[in-house]
């Protein structure tokens, strides 16, 4: 079993994905096996934070007091340079196809990945 890396879902400033040596697939949601081929040994890898915007939605109506304080906030799907897709936050003026890079930001009491356009 390879070393488990901490990521933003546990409060660390990192985006982590898993790589399967057996079939080459990269997966974002952490598991103890490869969802494509079933191989038991997937390796945690730290992503560079570079990516391309795949989709955006500016949230203007939130459902909890904590998230309402941040309205409007832009939710993104980003295709990471390493070959996996992830959901994150980002600048409100981002458009599909923009090249972006990640930093981290506090949102409703949690650390979340936040993408900005590459200058």
């Amino acid at each position: 079993m390879s070393e488990k890396l901490a990521d933003w879902t546990s409060g660390a400033e990192a985006i982590v994905y898993q790589h399967c040596a057996a079939c080459g697939v990269r997966q974002y949601f952490r598991r103890s096996f490869c969802a494509a081929c079933g191989a038991p040994d997937v390796e945690d890898k730290r992503a560079s934070g570079a990516g391309t915007v795949y989709a955006t939605s500016l949230v203007c109506r939130a459902a909890t007091p904590e998230t309402r304080a941040h309205v409007p906030y832009n939710i993104l799907l980003v295709d990471a340079a390493e070959g996996f897709r992830m959901m994150a936050h980002g600048d409100n003026d981002l458009a599909i196809g923009d090249k972006v890079t990640a930093r981290f930001k506090q949102f409703a009491g949690r650390l979340v990945p936040y993408f900005e356009k590459v200058k």
Binding site: Y28, F29, S57, V59, R61, I75, L77, R110
Partner: protein, 378 residues
Amino acid sequence: MSYITGVGLTPYGKHEGSSSLDLMSMAAAQAVVDAELTRSEIDGVLCGYSTVSPHIMLATVFAEHFGIRPSYAHAVQVGGATGLAMTMLAHHLVDAGVAKHVLVVSGENRLTGQSRDASIQALAQVGHPDYEVSLGPTIPAYYGLVASRYMHEYGLTQEDLAEFAVLMRAHACTHPGAQFHEPITVADVMASKPVAMPLKLLDCCPVSDGGAAFIVSREPTGAAAIRVRGCAQAHTHQHLTAAPALSELGAEISIAKAKAASGLAIPDVRYAAVYDSFTITLAMLLEDLGLAKRGEAAARVRSGYFSRDGEVPLNTHGGLLSYGHCGVGGAMAHLVETHLQMTGRAGNRQVRDASISLLHGDGGVLSSHVSMFLERVR
């Protein structure tokens, strides 16, 4: 072989003081009478879920409340696709001889039984608990993401999406049970409050109270006979982050399998009942199903193709967008309306010909799909 032999539907909107069980019972009682059966003849029960009153055994809670002792009963959970998934299961159950008359029922006091925030919050939990929900998305945000990508790839505009809201409202205006009866225009949709861009308030279905039910039987019980001709499912993912490309979504898979199971093709379809939680949902599903070419569904709405007197009338009760959405019952109203149309009982909404109908349901974020063809055989 299986037949839809009876249907029941409450008005959608506010049912102050009614519980989920009350709404289920109202619809179920109507469906039993409509099928010309007695309660004791119901030997199977399939029910959806209630976010207001969750229970680990809702089907038997309901059966006891309603006063029946079925030989087969359980709940089913496939999000918005639950109604059609239950119908598909009921079809197979009666076909296999497990039951003779399966009651499919759902109802929820989702509007008056909890706050809107609680509804939105409960539904957002279809997202991934670690990788999505912590980002504060809502169901409209998940579909807003899908909409932004679909518009980008196929050239749809927000005005195009608005056409679907206008059409559903026009249809709801002719149904006394619909939640909304005020006509709206594309300009009204465009001017409505932003929710999760590009989706605005009138691009989104409401939260409603309501109940719906139908009976699936091995043989017809009345003069008309509405047969399940063929159906199929597809499940490609749960979470939007893990969804395949737009060209590989489940609707295309399930419709291909349903066409093969029924021996029917899209040109055979005379009436369509398609899931419409958001305007983008309806636009995409119509195009995925082949009821319009890519990027051309809005043009078909404008030309009257999906209107009551058009080539393929669509959701003539007003759909989720304007009849209302009470959870599982929401999309079951589509099947109730289809049955009324197919049996010539839709009154002032009656279409010329609904002899072959296509129904499609979607659960999650385009995660789970059920396609079904119904045919009138007498």
